[in-house]
Structure formats: C-alpha cells, structure tokens
C-alpha cells in the first residue's frame, strides 16, 4: 500500500506574482489610451500564443492576463503585466501577443517573451507528497482551493493539522475538484508497491501548505 499522496505541481504555468511579466515585455506599446485591461484571454481573441519558432500553440489550460497601460506604455512607471490565471503549457521562448484592440488601441500589438523566471517552475517544486493514512476527509472550499483535514491534532474549532491546496486554474466545479481529490486519496491508499500521482480533474496545484 502507499502511504503518500503524490502531487504533481504546476510547472509550465505562468507565475501569478504581481507585475512579474513586465520585465519580459519585448514589444511595448505607444499611441494608445491608458487604462487597466483585465480578463485578457485567448478565447476572447485578446491573446495569441506561439512557440519560439513563431508557430501558434495551444495551451493545456488557458491563462488570463491583466495589462496596465500608464503614460502610454506597459513597461514604464505604473504600467503592469500580470498573469491572473497561470494557464499550463508554456515553455521558455514562447510569445504571448496581446492584441492592440484589447489594450487601448495603441499603434501595434504588445508581445511578451517568456523566460524561465516567468514560469511556475522557477519557484514551485515539481512534486509534493502528503501522508495519506491520516487524512480524515476533503473539505471543498472553492473551484481553486481544497483542504485536507488530518485526524491527528484535529480540533472542533477547526485549528487542527491540515493541508491547504491551491490551484491557479479553476476546476469545472467545486464538487468535481473535491471529488477528484477524494478519488486520488482512495487510489493512494489502495495502491500496493506504487505511489500513484493524484488527479485533480486536469489542473495542478501551485501551493500545498501544511497549517
């Protein structure tokens, strides 16, 4: 049997640290309106993703960006480029082209070229392990967070040991995320001579915090 839940962490998503992508803006804008432009996605036609050879690529999970144009540019002053949802499937050298029409209609599109520090892999370990025998149950919190209650040290006040698992990309529903996590715990407990990797319905965590 397995005593651990193996968790593959998000590696190829964008870092969601505030303004972290500004340093990777390789084509800035000019001549457009200032403003804060949120919810920029591929699906809405705001973004185009290409690999280092310039070939259009699809992501396994979609990302969302927030761009702030200040004093006419992204890279100066209060300008900002932030991933608000990490997505998954990026590699160093990929480009994100942000359509001019989505960010105040400057004279041309903006381009971000991904470097290693822009990826989750720069700060997030590839794998985490959680002891599974002591897990009491899964607490659904949202489409991006679950909590694993541990039996030892548990208190009715809710201050016992637990692991808080956070995702950037949302699951299709709260039920689906908690149900997937619960299924993974069952698989891990039943696995003999192996440590199966947990599944969370196609999304990967960015943090696992024991509290």
């Amino acid at each position: 049997m397995s005593n651990y839940l193996k968790i593959a962490m998000l590696q190829t998503g964008l870092t969601t640290a505030g303004d972290a992508l500004k340093a990777s803006v390789t084509t800035d804008v000019s001549g457009g309106a200032n403003g804060t432009f949120t919810g920029l996605t591929v699906a809405d036609g705001d973004l185009t993703i290409a690999d280092s050879a310039g070939v259009a690529k699809s992501l396994s999970q979609p990302c969302t960006l927030r761009i702030v144009v200040a004093t006419g540019t992204i890279t100066s002053g209060a300008g900002e480029a932030t991933a608000t949802i990490a997505g998954e499937g990026f590699a160093v050298g990929d480009t994100i082209t942000i359509a001019a029409a989505s960010i105040g209609t400057p004279t041309g599109d903006a381009v971000i070229t991904i470097v290693a520090d822009d990826l989750q892999s720069a700060t997030v370990p590839a794998t985490r392990y959680i002891p599974v025998e002591d897990i009491l149950y899964v607490v659904p919190l949202s489409t991006t967070t679950i909590r694993l209650w541990m039996k030892n040290g548990a208190t009715a006040a809710g201050t016992g040991s637990n692991s808080l698992i956070t995702f950037s990309n949302p699951a299709i529903s709260i039920d689906a995320l908690a149900g997937s996590a619960s299924d993974s715990i069952i698989s891990a407990i039943q696995a003999e001579n192996s440590v199966p990797t947990a599944s969370f319905g196609g999304i990967k965590p960015i943090t696992v915090v024991m509290t």
């Binding site: 897990i135 039996k151 299709i172 689906a176």
Partner: protein
C-alpha cells in the same frame, strides 16, 4: 491501511463525463454512529479533541435533503464501518436507503462534512 467509506456528493453527475462525485471519509477509530437531526449522520471517533481532551472528535455527514436520513441508514452505516475495516483492497460505497437518484441524498456541496467534538457516548 486507513478505513474509508465513500459517499455520494454534490450535484448529480458533477464529475467530468457526468460521472458521480464521491467524498471519502476516514472511519478508522469510529466507535459509534448516530442520527444527527433528520439530514445528518454523526460519527464518534476514539480520539480526543486536541485542545479539549474531555471531548472526542465527531464528524457529521450533512446530506442535502431535509429529511433524507433515517434510523435504518444509521444502522447500515455502522455496519459499513465494520465492513470497511476488513476490506483491505476496496472502499465500500454508502448510499442512503431512500436514495432516489437526486442530489437530496448526496452530501451537500459546500459543507458536506462537519468536524466537531463532544462528550463520549
């Protein structure tokens, strides 16, 4: 190996492909099972509350329907606790006796299980 029981959870067909979702509850150390109101099952664990040693841990399974749980369900769950402790390679699935296929007989979506504590029974 921990003893688990899986219980139908959330909306009908909540998982990808419209498959049902389940939550597993670890029942190792459960020594008593009682009805909690008319929509809950309370499990008493043989482990004391970490901050109030006079009290012992309880977990309440909260079902969606207001009158979904009966005394017979409690008996069935207690029997399944014993069964789960013997099942080394399987996790039994608990279903309320009145389950009509609706979410009323599933654990609630947002607070399916409540961790609490009380005097031992």
């Amino acid at each position: 190996m921990a003893s688990l029981i899986k219980v139908p959870y959330g909306a009908v067909g909540a998982m990808p492909g419209s498959n049902p979702a389940y939550l597993a509850v670890n029942v190792e150390g459960v020594y008593s099972v009682v009805i909690d109101g008319t929509d809950g099952i309370r499990l008493y664990y043989d482990q004391y509350d970490a901050t109030t040693p006079a009290d012992y841990l309880n977990v309440i399974l909260n079902f969606t329907g207001a009158t979904s749980v009966t005394a017979d369900d409690v008996t069935a769950f207690a029997n399944m606790v014993a069964e789960a402790s013997q099942a080394t390679n399987s996790v039994p699935e608990f279903e309320l006796i009145g389950d009509d296929g609706t979410a009323n007989f599933h654990l609630t979506q947002l607070t399916p299980l409540t961790l609490t504590a009380g005097a031992p029974v």
